[in-house]
């Protein structure tokens, strides 16, 4: 049953249509329609049939054009241009010259570019996108159809809306295998990113981030000294999400081996927008919204709190005195303050303005954009984050298209003001605590009033981020292009933390002094990558090759200058008024050089083979081990193109099987580990700060290696309306870099060395994408992904040798697995916790055995995304879900119920009198039960189900009516409302199942409304 070839060509046609766009653009289209039907018709015959049906004639060089080539055609009243594009396919180009259709051998087509003329008013699928859209891979592009590796692309349409201030947020729930965890709801806080599990025993496992070809350090090391940001503040806070065109996440060996020593944990490529030829477009997007803490916890009210305190004293047989029970005897026991509402219940306003202009013609394109964003916090006081920036991108080409140049640059300035502490840690204050302000409006210093934090410490930071990159390319010969890309990133920050005298009660200020902490940060990353690209096509064989080199450098300095002894708060920001000044400078420096190459073979569009190789040199390793080679092979078989699959094609429109295997490395161990470094001792001797050797010279440690193997099956059903992808991966990571203990006679406790431990990460990832309906007024597309991962320490050499940071690892078990005690409720007689011993008998904490395993790594996680359009109404919903066990934060790790600190309301079920059967110990205000309480936290009670389903993002938009848009010369203009973290379904009892923290603000629920206008 012969399937007419042109229908098979349909997807290819689309692709070619896109490729040829630049060539046919600007020329007059032949308007006639032709009908040609036949099997194995020669090109010559097709030409003559066209000549017969139209008034055009063909002219070509017979030596160049093989007119005897035959093919099956079925065109009925088809536009001539489509017919020509189809039958000439990739091999030939054509041009209309008056009545002559000139045909010549086409210059080889580079990777296809997305069509600039896509229907602007239809929702685009963000993931599992159509098979032939561009996918960006290392040093090149491909399409999902022909890709032999595993790459997930997230397109820009919803990146900005979903990400808020941090562009990585846009990936949450959208990329299978990628686990992104927020640590809190204040802009700039650290983001934990892990792709496909923990590949390293003790070292970093963050992926390599590349922004427009520039490796980008995701961490603002030291967080400019802010306690809230923490040591690992996210540097992605300083990239404007609106300027991002796409984010591609590379996972398997085939995709990442070209990044060699840095590819083991995956690679995230971020590409910014570029101008497109066509009419000048002006877009303005304004939105305003409000953020609030998304979840609250139920705490004791004053009545319950006072009862708890009294019961605690009663239980302990202690008489409350003014000294040990200030809250009961000195404070008003009827007063009630909801500290949660007071300290974290505020509203953060969010204002966002973006404007961009773009346009250009065939030889030059440009895009300019500017943005401003202001975001408050839910904390009391005027804190927040204000940023603004500009971005531009230009690209141009010589008239003959042989030379091309592109340049883009962005600048972002950010000002953040934050309190010294996260007020969330203060919501557990006694609910009957005295008022924060006295009647005269002044701060109440008579107790540890959290509002004193509004006086100090105060943190404010100024961060500037400059990214620039240029790309020059020249076509040397048909198919051979020389290219060089250059990139530069300059991220600098300056912060001041002040501890003014205002923090102290006025009468005590004479004996106090103020302090200032200045923090300067500078990171510079630069890269040059010369490349040669070669494309060769002969018949059904297509060969693409890339050969290139990388020279990269990264420098970071962190300078702390602290001043003490300020006598006047007005002068506290000027270090010259300090009594004593002390400083510390730290830094990092990294050099990297590599040669890389890749060859991709495509035969008959059915058989794909991709080989990549990289020789890497890194300054992180000692002179003897600086170089290593990484390689990978990927193969694909598009079996749906095989003749024997013909009869299934109505149902199975696409089928591909892919396999890849290769090695990648990990070098996240910090710089200078090989040097016999000296560092300052902690104090002075004879008034001088001495030096001591801090490390031994060590030239013999090398990369951690990860061998990745992957098999994937990709299926398209019903003309690719339904796409299904299943991937199975097995990673084996060895050569683990650890601080290997040395005998003390060497003078050092340890040395970095490669431990032959083996970690195995294996998992399944499934993606189902559907474009179920598509009519003129109704459209629904949906994409679902889910990932399962398992981690196992396959081999661990000698558990008797204590390697720092590796305690608790058990061969054959996941790295994230802990062994905890089994709680057996509280002793009905005494109200103290009991735990199981080896024979499962209830015993006190000292005799408990820790044999119960708890694994905090998610069992599975994923996301479900829906795009819906009804008429002029659009809806985009993203649900994110995770099944996991998390920390039970209802246990305060430092304070037991009964102490003068509020508690979660769950403590109400405590033991009260002999005979009570419960799982909460009795109230107490003395340390007698401390051991049992600590053990309870380290038992199964300390963990709970932290699974959740969260509505990460929702956007509802109404497109302005066509007539109105036309009258106002608008297009693609809309009003919309957006919601981030709209709701979370979970049984988790703490503040947030994602952050699992008692002391950090949970991710905010932000609702905003906006207007987007395009001219």
């Amino acid at each position: 049953m012969g399937m007419p070839k042109p229908t098979i060509f349909f997807p290819l046609l689309l692709l070619l249509h896109a490729c040829f766009w630049y060539q046919v653009e600007g020329q007059v289209y032949p308007s006639q329609k032709v009908t040609i039907v036949g099997r194995q018709v020669s090109l010559k015959d097709i030409f003559s049939q066209i000549e017969a049906q139209t008034h055009y004639y063909f002219s070509y060089n017979p030596a160049e054009v093989d007119v005897n080539r035959t093919l099956d055609v079925r065109f009925r009243k088809a536009a001539l241009q489509d017919v020509l594009n189809t039958v000439l396919k990739g091999t030939y180009a054509w041009k209309l010259d008056d009545r002559s259709i000139n045909v010549w051998r086409a210059p080889l087509v580079m990777a296809p570019k997305p069509s600039p003329l896509e229907m602007p008013d239809t929702p685009k699928l963000i993931m599992g996108k159509v098979l032939d859209e561009t996918v960006i891979i290392g040093y090149g592009t491909t399409t999902q159809r022909f890709n032999t590796g595993n790459v997930t692309t997230v397109k820009g349409n919803f990146i900005a809306g979903q990400s808020g201030t941090n562009v990585l947020m846009a990936l949450q729930g959208r990329v299978p295998g990628m686990l992104i965890t927020q640590t809190g709801g204040v802009p700039g806080m650290a983001m934990k990113v892990q792709i496909r599990g923990q590949n390293s025993l003790v070292n970093g496992t963050q992926p390599l981030f590349v922004v427009n070809g520039i490796p980008y350090n995701p961490i603002l090391t030291g967080g400019l000294g802010s306690q809230i940001w923490g040591d690992k503040a996210s540097a992605f806070n300083f990239i404007n999400a609106e300027d991002v065109e796409s984010i591609d996440v590379l996972k398997d060996a085939d995709a990442t081996a070209i990044y060699g020593s840095r590819g083991a944990n995956g690679v995230v490529l971020i590409t910014t927008r570029k101008g497109q030829p066509g009419k000048t477009q002006l877009t303005v997007n304004v939105s305003r919204g409000f953020g609030q803490t998304s979840r609250k916890v139920k705490l004791l009210n004053t009545q319950q709190y006072i009862a708890m305190r009294r019961e605690a004293f009663l239980n302990d047989g202690v008489i409350p005195t003014e000294r040990n029970a200030t809250d009961l005897l000195k404070w008003d026991t009827s007063r009630y303050t909801d500290w949660q509402k007071e300290l974290t219940g505020g509203t953060a306003s969010v204002t966002n303005v973006q404007a961009s202009a773009s346009g250009g013609n065939k030889s030059i394109q440009y895009l300019l954009s500017g943005h401003y964003r202001q975001e408050g916090t839910v904390l009391p006081g005027k804190f927040g984050d204000t940023r603004g920036g500009a971005y531009f991108s230009t690209s141009g080409a010589s008239a003959n298209q042989r030379f091309k140049a592109a340049f883009s640059g962005s600048f972002l300035a950010d000002k953040t003001t934050l309190p010294g502490i996260d007020f969330t840690s203060k919501i557990m204050l006694p609910p009957n605590a005295p008022p924060a302000y006295l009647e005269d409006g002044s701060l109440n210093y008579s107790w540890l009033n959290p509002y004193i934090a509004l006086a100090g410490p105060l943190f404010d930071a100024y961060v500037k981020n400059v990214l620039g990159n240029a790309s020059l390319q020249y076509r040397l010969l048909p198919g051979l292009v020389a290219r060089t890309t250059l990139g530069y990133n300059w991220l600098s920050g300056h912060s001041q933390t002040i501890l003014p005298l205002a923090m102290y009660a006025p009468p005590t200020r004479d004996s106090k002094t103020g302090s200032l902490h200045n923090y300067d940060y500078k990171a510079i990353s630069r890269i040059i990558e010369p490349q040669l690209n070669y494309v060769y096509q002969a018949g059904a064989l297509r060969l693409e090759m890339v050969l290139g080199g990388t020279i990269q450098g990264y420098n970071e300095t962190r300078k702390n200058i602290n001043g003490d002894g300020f006598k006047n708060d007005l002068l506290i920001r000027d270090i010259s008024y300090a009594d004593t000044v002390y400083s510390k400078t730290e830094g990092a420096s990294y050099r990297y050089a590599a040669l890389f190459g890749r060859a991709g073979l495509n035969w008959k569009n059915r058989y794909l083979l991709n080989l990549s190789l990289r020789r890497d040199g890194s300054s992180r390793f000692g002179p003897r081990k600086q170089y290593a080679t990484f390689a990978a092979a990927g193969a694909g078989w598009i079996f749906s193109e095989e003749p024997f699959m013909c009869h299934l094609r109505r149902v199975l429109s696409f089928g591909k099987l892919r396999l890849s295997y290769g090695t990648t490395g990990n070098d996240q161990i910090g710089d200078y580990q090989y040097l016999d470094q000296y560092s300052n001792v902690d104090g002075t001797y004879q008034g001088v700060v001495g030096l001591q050797p801090s490390r031994l010279f060590n030239a013999d440690f090398a990369w951690e290696l990860t061998q990745k193997s992957e098999a994937g099956l990709e299926l398209g059903f019903l003309k690719d309306r339904l796409l299904f992808t299943a991937s199975h991966f097995i990673y084996r990571s060895s050569n683990q870099l650890v601080a290997y203990p040395l005998p003390d006679i060497t003078g050092a406790g340890s040395i970095i060395g490669n431990l032959p431990a083996v970690i195995r990460n294996a998992g399944w990832e499934f993606v189902l994408t559907a474009r179920q309906f598509r009519t003129k007024t109704f459209e629904w597309a949906s994409s679902f992904n889910i990932s399962f991962g398992r981690n196992k320490l396959v081999y661990y050499p000698d558990p008797t040798i204590a390697i720092p940071g590796t305690s608790g690892f058990v061969e054959g078990k996941p790295l994230s697995q802990l062994y905890v005690a089994t709680a057996m409720g509280v002793d009905p007689a005494t109200g103290a916790y009991l735990f199981a011993d080896a024979n499962n008998h209830p015993v006190p904490a000292e005799d408990a055995v820790e044999s119960l395993s708890v694994n905090s790594y998610p069992v599975f996680f994923g996301g479900w995304q829906n795009s819906l359009r009804i008429g002029r109404f659009e809806l985009e919903v993203l649900l994110q879900f995770t099944k996991q066990t998390g920390i039970n934060t209802t246990f305060d790790p430092s304070v037991m119920p009964g102490y003068p600190q509020n508690q979660y309301a769950v403590v109400l079920s405590r033991w009260q009198k002999p005979g009570d059967i419960t799982d909460r110990q009795r109230y107490t205000q003395s340390p007698g039960l401390k051991e049992g309480y600590k053990k309870a936290i380290m038992s199964d009670l300390g963990y709970e189900n932290a699974s959740f389903i969260r509505c990460r993002y929702l956007e509802a938009a109404w497109l302005l009516p066509k007539g109105m848009q036309q009258r106002l010369h608008l297009h693609d203009s809309r009003v919309y409302i957006q919601a981030q973290n709209l709701f979370t379904l979970t049984s988790y009892k703490g503040l947030d199942p994602e952050t699992q923290s008692r002391t950090a603000i949970p991710p905010l629920r932000v609702l905003s409304a906006g207007l987007k206008i395009s001219l």
């Binding site: 020249y474 830094g587 700060v689 001495g690 005998p743």
Partner: protein, 450 residues
């Protein structure tokens, strides 16, 4: 194109090394840079003295004075922590023996300094010479205690961890050879003055070793090897240097400007010495009853150097870490030199000279002239004087018992009194278990579990 290829070729053939050179770190230097300037080279030795004063193996609850005092018959233990009890009952545990790792850390630091300083050509010669002298002195000092506490020990003299990590134990004689070499070299390299950390200006603080410190330690080392004449020469050099060194009244011996001091360590955690904090504040021990019994009735040291309420070690009196500094930790002092010379003179037949030296120490303690003539009794008197004079200082008692082969007789009774059971092997501390685990060439001392 041509240029690109050329560029790549250039980059990868010519400049690889340079491409991967990240420069020097901004925080601290490395062996390549540190020894290029006088100030940073001197800071390495200053850091070494800081560590000695800070780490707690030379003073305080894990210090040699305390631990060896517990092992010997000096103390009556008043507390029950595991380390103190195990040392006290002469059952030291291979998994909890602190001194070893610190001493080897200092030896590494000294070895690294000797290597770096020797290789450097950019330092002021006088400073370089002084620093090498200090490093060799420290190395000798550490090996002296290692070999006397642990018997045979690996003799590490380089910095290559691959060589060092698999070293075997070296015969005691060889270790002493190095100690003597180092001290003789140090005595000739070091200046006679006490220097500040800039290694140029002179100070009255005696907190960096000088030529006399090296000579004083050499006198002790020669005594330990029964090289009586060499010991006499070295000790005499100190004793005869009357302008710098002299005995001072009992109450002033341990002060920071004490003329008796040959080498002291400046306290770096607060202004009080670790021993003052330990013996006065924490007060884990009092003098052993047997020790109190041997004290002569009129001995002033009981009044000056033992606490009033309970006879705890009270040589150091300044236990307020925030007060202005008055005391430094005494490492080497002149009284020991007199006792060294007394013993050495006795063994060379000069009984009168020996007695005269002994009397210098006795006289200060308010004790009368001894009427002893026999060599044996005089030797006993000298050892007893040493026991009393150097009580709770630097394990002198423990080391002398071993050196004079009296340990088994004395400890048999003493350990029984402490509630333990003496075995001859217990005179050597066990090699830390982790060391044997990580270095298969290292053997455990006899009697201890592997």
């Amino acid at each position: 194109m041509r240029w690109t290829i050329l560029l790549i070729c250039l980059l990868f053939c010519g400049g690889c090394r340079k491409l991967l050179d990240p420069g020097d770190p901004v925080d601290g230097g490395n062996s390549g840079t540190i020894y290029q300037s006088d100030a940073s080279a001197a800071a390495v030795l200053t850091g070494l003295f800081y560590n000695m004063s800070n780490d707690g193996t030379f003073m305080g609850g894990e210090g040699i004075s305390y631990l060896s005092g517990l092992s010997a018959d000096e103390f009556l233990l008043q507390q029950e922590d595991e380390l103190s009890v195990s040392m006290y009952k002469n059952q030291p545990r291979p998994d909890n023996i602190p001194v070893w790792s610190w001493l080897y850390k200092y030896i590494y630091q000294a070895n690294a300094a000797i290597e770096g300083l020797t290789a450097s050509s950019r330092l002021t010669p006088a400073i370089r010479q002084q620093l090498i002298g200090e490093a060799r002195f420290v190395r000798a000092f550490c090996y002296f205690y290692l070999v006397n506490l642990f018997d045979e020990v690996p003799l590490v003299t380089g910095t290559d961890y691959k060589v060092n990590a698999t070293m075997r134990r070296t015969p005691v004689v060889k270790v002493y050879e190095l100690i003597v070499q180092d001290l003789e070299a140090a005595a000739s390299l070091l200046r006679t003055d006490y220097l500040r950390a800039d290694m140029i200006s002179i100070t009255s603080d005696r907190v960096r070793p000088n030529k006399w410190a090296a000579t004083a330690l050499l006198a002790r080392v020669q005594l330990y090897q029964n090289n009586w004449r060499a010991a006499i020469i070295a000790a005499s050099a100190l004793i005869d240097n009357n302008a710098v060194y002299d005995t001072v009244p009992l109450s002033r011996v341990f002060l920071k400007d004490s003329k008796e001091a040959i080498w002291q360590l400046q306290p770096v955690n607060g202004t009080a010495t670790g021993d003052a904090l330990l013996f006065i504040q924490q007060r884990p021990v009092v003098a052993a009853p047997t020790f109190l019994q041997t004290l002569e009735k009129e001995d002033l040291r009981k009044q000056y150097w033992l606490g009033e309420d309970g006879y705890y070690p009270y040589k150091y009196k300044a236990a307020d870490p925030a007060a202005p500094p008055t005391e430094y930790l005494m490492v080497l002092r002149l009284a020991e030199q007199y006792l060294i010379r007394a013993e050495a003179r006795l063994h060379t037949g000069d009984k009168a000279g020996g007695l005269e030296d002994l009397m210098v120490v006795r006289r200060r303690a308010g004790l009368p002239r001894l009427n002893i003539n026999g060599t044996g009794p005089l030797d006993d008197a000298i050892q007893h004087e040493k026991q009393v004079e150097l009580f709770a200082e630097w394990g002198h008692r423990w080391l002398d018992l071993k050196r004079t082969h009296k340990i088994n007789t004395v400890m048999k009774a003493a350990t029984a009194a402490k509630g333990g059971d003496w075995k001859a092997y217990q005179q050597w501390y066990p090699i830390p278990r982790s060391e044997i685990l990580l270095n298969p060439n290292l053997t455990q001392n006899e009697g201890y579990p592997e």
